[in-house]
Symmetry: C2
Subunit: 355 residues, 2 copies
């Protein structure tokens, strides 16, 4: 199984996703600053993976805090969390992970600092395990949307590499594949970072699932020629009304799917839900460095100094989303109700677990 | 002025568009085989430019024919034309240029072969001059669609580089700019060949027109944020019903424009009309080499051996097209009638000229 994040005794091991598929290189992350840099530079990327990696980074940072009192410890922990929170603004899983780690510390304030550090490490490890299990649950719920012989169009990488393992959208495809369904995938290359061409193609190829790479602007042609049965993507943040922020280029796919009468599904864990955000308009959209567009593999493509705009995500309005597949079941419109219900169940279980 | 094609006494000089914007290199084409290769490999590209370049190639080929009788000459000319016709199947301007050259020969069969060769060269030169004039006429007709302060989204390169000079879609933008209107352009980079990032950005920058490059999948986001006032593209072939074949990725833009209430315009000379093709379904769509997607500047991007699909064009259905701007005026729906009318006028004028 592909393991993008591994917790070792010595630190957190990340599979360097900037160098795939050419090289399979692992980076040993020793402290929270290195983790923040790895998230920023997309050594690790994908909303659920960012959440788990951030938790790992916070655990590493916490372990190095020299403080005896809880107050001094927690104050430094908050600084570490702030650094982690400044890496990538759109994926809400990052903030969910940060809050979860802070809560573990706060709820155990009466314990010795060393004991709290151990609990934080255990929490980060638990989040990794939970994430893999959630993806498998998502796969079980979602695979029914894929029929034998279907071709699924996907965008970016919502796979094992975007999570702690197994994947969200690609996890659903994996689950269908493991059920014995013949499923083909058309993967958008996903400019500018080429997560589709590099990562999705690599992991599906590795798992023996047939994949064809196209450039992003070919999806409409493929649909018009009847080559696609459904569209299935991940998410970086889902607002209370079901608007979905995901990798730039997702929204046009949803519109094309509607035009061609194809279902458009989103697979994401409940940690991607942000019910405090009313609609997609309120989701902050990260803009990344101009060189992602002006350069291709280090080589200048555009005229020197040309203006560039590089938003990393877009928002797909809820009316274009057929269903949102989570680890707790499938949400459908009206999303205000269905997402609220899934979220309440989630909180109930969290409460039960922590008791 | 940017001159992508120049007729010299010694041959045809092409600005090598595969090396822009990094290097401004000219290739001296000496015979029709070199011209066919230059068209295939996209040293020269863009429907109108392909037409003019093909005419130049046929003229070079004709000049080298060693035959005294018209029949022997014409038979070899047809072979040259067949080679030229096998370069790129979608742009109808190629076949239009070939037919025009053949007609000049056929209509002058009573003359000496050397005289016919001179007429063919003159015809190719005339086509180059006419193309520039047609683009300027298109600019005059089309610039009214652009208001002061507008931002125009464009795709691929329908500029000076795609024609003999001045450009079709970019010609309309140039005309608005020359009228003193403040116009900004958002240019899709246009994968896989990056005509937008490399060529459109270069020629607008050269002319002092403000241009911002985005990756193709960002157009929807830009429209949703109110950053675009209209979409304006070129065409490679327009069917009798107004369906428009243009660079892959055009169709999704038209759909997005409709969703956001933005007008979608096509600028193309009447040589791009193919009234013998009833609808866009009948337009042959070229598929290009897999390495355009798997490699960038010789470097492998995808996993080795992965499947790739690389259609070079898509078809925008007529109902998404607000207007087609030609050198003889603007056609609007119903296109069956308006394009027929423009085409008849075109033939009338051609007849008048040849008398």
């Amino acid at each position: 199984m592909i393991k993008p994040i591994q917790f070792l005794d010595s630190g957190v091991l990340l599979l360097d996703q900037t160098r795939l598929p050419g090289e399979e290189v692992y980076v040993d992350i020793k402290d929270h600053l290195a983790m923040a840099e790895a998230i920023k530079s997309m050594v690790v990327r994908g909303a659920p993976a960012i959440g788990v990696a951030a938790a790992g980074g916070i655990s590493l940072g916490a372990a190095a805090i020299r403080a005896d009192s809880f107050e001094a410890f927690y104050s430094e922990l908050e600084e570490i969390c702030a650094i982690m929170g400044n890496t990538r603004p759109t994926a809400v899983n990052l903030f969910w992970a940060i809050e979860r780690m802070k809560r573990v510390a706060a709820e155990n304030r009466s314990l010795e600092v060393d004991k709290i550090k151990k609990l934080l490490e255990a929490e980060a490890r638990r989040m990794l395990e939970e994430d893999i299990q959630h993806n498998k649950d998502m796969g079980a719920f979602g695979q029914g949307f894929i029929s034998d012989g279907d071709t699924v169009l996907t965008h970016c990488n919502a796979g094992a590499l975007a999570t702690a393992g197994f994947g969200t959208a690609l996890g659903v495809i994996r689950a269908a594949h493991l059920k014995g369904k013949r499923v083909k995938v058309i993967a958008d290359e996903t400019r500018p970072f080429l997560q589709g061409a590099r990562l999705t193609a690599w992991e599906l190829d590795t798992d023996g699932i047939q994949v064809t790479v196209i450039s992003d602007n070919m999806a409409g042609y493929c649909m018009s020629k009847g080559m696609v049965n459904l569209v299935l993507v991940g998410a970086d943040r889902i607002a209370a009304n079901g608007d979905v922020a995901n990798k730039i280029g997702t929204y046009p796919l949803a519109l094309l799917a509607k035009e061609h009468g194809l279902p458009f599904y989103v697979a994401a864990p409940t940690s991607t839900l942000d019910l405090s955000t009313t609609t997609g308009d309120d989701i902050p959209i990260e803009e990344r460095d101009r060189t992602e567009i002006t350069h291709f593999q280090g080589q200048l493509v555009t005229p020197e100094g040309v203006d560039v705009f590089n938003p990393a995500f877009d928002v797909t309005p809820n009316h274009l989303v057929h269903a949102i597949i989570t680890e707790r079941g499938v949400a459908k419109a009206p999303y205000e109700k269905s997402l609220q219900k899934i979220s309440i169940e989630d909180r109930k279980e969290a409460t039960t677990k922590s008791n």
